[in-house]
Point group: C2
Chain length 326, copies 2
């Protein structure tokens, strides 16, 4: 099943979307919002599945039922938890090199994760705002929405707690990060709201591409309409989503609706490009001593999506333009 | 007005509570939960005020209407944001000394704040669980619930965005903190869910004790029924709540229902005691080279409350027992 939240109020309006992302039916008669749908998932499942079959069998699409990405908020426009891992340790190593901070060896065995703000998540086409001097950067990631996860859940048990999978653009204010992380308490000012792809999908929609908490497909990133990166999400993912869940739940339970991100997708094979600007800048510094790529400037556009090898859409696309300060 | 959420489902059941905390009326006919009450605050205000007047005028209390703290969840059992400041820099200095980390001078002018988990907040009488080896500590704090706060809100403008004030017990796993903070991304495993006092109150309920985003009353902390600390919340509060809001909103808006904590209340005058165990341990180390106070052991009890000088309750009490691991 694929779900979208159309912009409406604080929690959005629940829609079910066809597999090919052509059709969307409002299903607020089943649950007003995705939050309430998750809250009552077990009870609602038969109705959701019936609607899922109906939308995928439907024929002609009239305009009222055509899926419209710009109408979407984040699937959960306000969530109760957003935790972002750094599963692609290769990216962490490059990002730290860029800020001149060495990386401890333990980062290859103990996941890095931060707690982010989840009160105001952005939709897939919402503008990216902010002061260009802050060094605004995008980061293309995968993210999951979990079920209730008991404290101490092991990685082996964690697979059963993944309810939905999404695309994410985790925005970062690169020029504010060194000073804020230097204070030792993590990110507050240097991580503005993240944005999410238009649809959240159940893992079964990903077929054999989804295995062992990893997705074996390239993350497709375009910067100002040019290909920028296409690393495979399953390659060089040091920690799969099961391990990220176990890390997050080590000392506390996770509430249903928790979003966990993978961190910026990154392959060691640099011919696959990058999923964020800082990594590209670091590669330029290593190659020539100087970065050529700038952080986001007003008018810059980023597009993030994942399709199957034959071009079938999975999550829809994030397409955002940086507009500078409000 | 004073509000409580009785345990029920994921968001609790909204009650209005009399000023003296003797009576509670269920007001789910106005809004099912505090979250929905906040979402529609402007529309519901006349009804809430009418009920507020009625409960404070009410005479006899039958059992059905007697306010019952153990029935309470946190006022917002799952929130969309929990940010905890460290407004009492004196505490920060002592806590860092205890972990052997120096404190930069900038901490006196730039607030320290971390993003915490808000998916599973504890009620005032919920047990504290966890492995005693983790070094479980309590921290008595004040916390506010904000309105929507625009990005870039100044401290001067921030006062109008405080909707409710609460007590908080921000739990910490002291023995996990040094290694996790050493990773540089803040707290995930070393901060389990925080607990909150039974009622959230509008600032006008605090009368002249609430001024300039500070509360001029002692935080009363009892450890195993013995007085442990009574520092004044307005003394040595380097950053008031207005400044904490401005810090949090510098690069992003805050959604209505955001909880911001003050950090552990702490006065330089050490005759006022402490609001957490680590501070007491640090004072013992400074005095004798060795800590005598242990972190929480199964059966240990903590009680946190604030009353007026003549003993009138304001927020009710947090009363928790540490039970060890589940």
């Amino acid at each position: 099943m694929k779900f979208a939240s159309y912009k409406s109020g604080r929690d959005g309006q629940l829609h079910i979307v066809s597999r090919n992302l052509k059709r969307a039916f409002r299903i607020t008669d089943i649950a007003p919002s995705l939050r309430e749908c998750l809250d009552n998932w077990e009870t609602l499942l038969p109705d959701l599945q019936e609607r899922h079959q109906r939308i995928n069998a439907a024929g002609q699409v009239d305009n009222a039922k055509r899926f419209h990405t710009p109408s979407c908020s984040a699937p959960l426009p306000r969530a109760t938890q957003w935790l972002d891992g750094s599963a692609y340790v290769n990216h962490v190593e490059l990002a730290r090199k860029a800020r001149g901070v060495p990386m401890p060896d333990s980062f290859w065995t103990d996941p890095l994760m931060y707690q982010g703000g989840s009160d105001n998540l952005l939709g897939p086409c919402d503008p990216i705002t902010g002061n260009p001097d802050w060094g605004v950067d995008f980061e293309a990631e995968l993210a999951i929405i979990t079920d209730d996860v008991p404290i101490g859940c092991s990685a082996e048990e964690a697979h059963q707690h993944i309810m939905l999978v999404m695309l994410c653009n985790d925005l970062s204010l690169r020029n504010l990060i060194p000073e804020e992380l230097g204070k030792g308490f993590g990110f507050v000012q240097s991580k503005p709201p993240s944005s999410f792809g238009p649809v959240a999908v159940t893992p079964d929609e990903l077929g054999h591409y989804w295995q062992e908490g990893k997705l074996s497909l390239p993350m497709q990133v375009y910067f100002n309409d040019q290909p920028f990166g296409h690393p495979d999400c399953a390659v060089d993912m040091t920690f799969n989503f099961h391990e990220l869940i176990a890390h997050a739940a080590k000392t506390r339970p996770l509430g249903r609706g928790t979003i966990i991100g993978s961190g910026t997708v990154s392959n060691k094979d640099k011919s696959t490009g990058s999923c964020c600007l800082v990594e590209q800048r670091m590669l330029e510094i290593i190659a020539s001593g100087q970065p050529q790529t700038r952080y986001l400037q007003p008018g810059d556009k980023v597009r993030i999506e994942i399709t199957t090898p034959d071009g079938q859409p999975l999550f829809g696309a994030i397409e955002q333009t940086f507009t500078g300060s409000h």
